[in-house]
């Protein structure tokens, strides 16, 4: 088996004295899509923040493509091929669509290539390219965010709660795009509260509660236990 693209070992992290990650172990094999599920406050988003360099860990290790990354800044990681689409609308609302796309070129691809990729996947964005991103609908904003995932040609893609605040049909469209990205061979770690939606596109799944990974397995196995995890078990 080849070296996994992401390996997290016994990771701890805290906000002040409040420990949020209490020993997380997680592996994303090269080329695989892993869904990270679980209730709110379980530590999913915090884990993504630590992996992407936005937050410091207190102990443990993170290996990206077999290389130990520690204390690397988010912009360094981004230029090394880690693309993170954070929770919420991860676009710059007061820049036009095209200006948002221009900034993607910081990841090391030419601006023209970014425009080509983004507009061919989402023709709607081309129609609105001079419009301010903040005036787009939620779904269109998320498309713009996904354009970065598509065109920055990442080694590893981290997606956090793509579905937040979006109508189900839009969410499904977005996940179709995630599926397309996965088919092109990109490794993806996707955090999602809508378990069923995320499980459709993933190869493996892990469940986090209380700052730890409490279950891992094939999508079907995990799907069976999710209703209990989220809505509570026996009365």
């Amino acid at each position: 088996m080849s070296v996994p693209i992401l390996e997290v070992v016994d990771l701890h992290a805290a906000y002040g004295r409040i420990e949020v990650l209490r020993g997380v172990d997680l592996t994303v094999p090269r080329g695989a899509v892993v869904a990270l599920l679980g209730p709110n406050g379980g530590g999913k988003s915090t884990l993504l923040k630590v992996i992407s360099g936005q937050m410091d860990k207190t102990s443990g290790d993170i290996h990206l493509g077999g290389v130990h990354v520690s204390g690397a800044k988010p912009d360094d990681l981004a230029r090394l091929g880690l693309t993170t689409v954070p929770e919420g609308r991860s676009v710059f609302p007061n820049l036009s669509v095209e200006e948002n796309l221009l900034l993607i070129s910081y990841a090391g691809v030419s601006a023209d290539k970014v425009y080509d990729t983004a507009y061919s996947y989402f023709p709607k964005l081309k129609q609105r390219r001079f419009q301010l991103a903040g005036t787009l609908s939620g779904g269109e904003q998320q498309m713009l965010a996904m354009a970065r995932a598509l065109s920055s040609d990442p080694a590893l893609l981290l997606l956090d709660e793509l579905s937040m605040g979006l109508a189900p049909l839009i969410v499904d469209e977005l996940y179709e795009t995630v599926g397309q990205i996965a088919e092109s061979g990109v490794s993806i770690l996707v955090v999602e509260q809508f378990a069923r939606t995320a499980l459709k596109v993933s190869d493996y799944a892990a469940v986090m509660t209380g700052g730890r990974v409490v279950a891992t397995g094939e999508p079907d196995e995990i799907n069976d236990i999710m209703a209990d995890v989220i809505l509570g078990g026996a009365a």
């Binding site: 209730p39 609308r89 779904g139 709660e161 605040g165 049909l169 809508f194 989220i230 809505l231 509570g232």
Partner: protein, 259 residues
């Protein structure tokens, strides 16, 4: 008559609608749960009820009285207390002084003038003991664990003797035993005649203590019922877990929320 009536409340932030014509009631003396997926607008609802956020439209009635435009501090004097999802303890004060501030304020000028008598300390200790954090009384509030800080916010709110207590994710940061004890406390408070509205993600706790549950999704109430009804509601399951492929086709095409 319900103690709290949220009537057709809409909150827009720029182009995003956080709360979309939400209407629900909280009956006096009950524990009511307000649940829903992330970003459904629960905390925004709380902010509207307590006055920290002005609604774009709609009304909030407390005991039949329209309080939509009432300033925040006056709502407290009308018997409303709350805790926060993101902790808002007074970090530079000790745990005990956090409660003391609330007692002083609650008693108005008398509280300002009152010497530090034994009765005050007793009252503070009682409140801290009640939520189970008496052992932390003399520590600074910014140095206690998150669960303790949440319980402190509950004690602080109780110091003002509220009729209506709004709890925003009170159990996060508590372990299982603490959550159990907290559930018992909630039931006691309700038995005393206090009304509790609670946003909570621990479904075991919600199902155990709530008399009624409202489910918020995309800023609107999509279901209301007893814990049993809510657990078995397909609408709620969909809201929480998303949709499988075959189901999607049958869904009505809803307008997107964030327009």
């Amino acid at each position: 008559m319900p103690l709290l009536h949220v009537d057709d409340v809409v909150v827009r932030f720029g182009g995003v609608t956080a709360v979309n014509q939400a209407s629900f009631e909280v009956e006096s003396g009950t524990i009511t749960g307000l649940i829903g997926p992330n970003g459904a607008g629960k905390t925004t609802c709380f902010n509207v009820i307590t006055g920290l956020q002005a609604p774009t439209s709609g009304r909030v009635l407390l005991d039949g009285k329209n309080i939509t435009r009432m300033p925040v501090p006056r709502r407290a004097r009308h018997g409303m207390g709350r805790t926060f999802q993101r902790l808002e303890a007074f970090g530079s004060l000790t745990v005990e002084d956090n409660v003391r501030v609330a007692l002083d304020v609650h008693e108005g000028l008398r509280g300002m003038m009152r010497p530090d008598d034994e009765a005050t300390f007793q009252r503070i200790d009682e409140l801290l003991d009640r939520v189970g954090i008496l052992g932390y009384a003399e520590e600074r509030a910014d140095s206690v664990p998150t669960g303790t800080a949440r319980l402190l916010e509950v004690a602080r709110a109780l110091a003002c003797n509220p009729r209506l207590l709004l709890l925003d994710e009170p159990s996060s940061g508590l372990d299982e035993a603490e959550t159990d004890a907290f559930g018992n406390l909630l039931l006691e408070l309700a038995a005393e005649g206090r009304t509790i509205l609670m946003v909570e993600h621990d479904m075991d706790l919600v199902m155990r203590v709530c008399h009624e549950i409202h489910v918020l999704d995309f800023g609107s109430i999509i279901a209301t019922g007893t814990p049993e009804e809510i657990r078995n509601s397909p609408v709620v399951q969909k809201a929480y877990l998303g949709y499988s492929e075959d189901e999607t086709a049958e869904l009505p095409v809803t307008e997107e929320v964030a327009r």
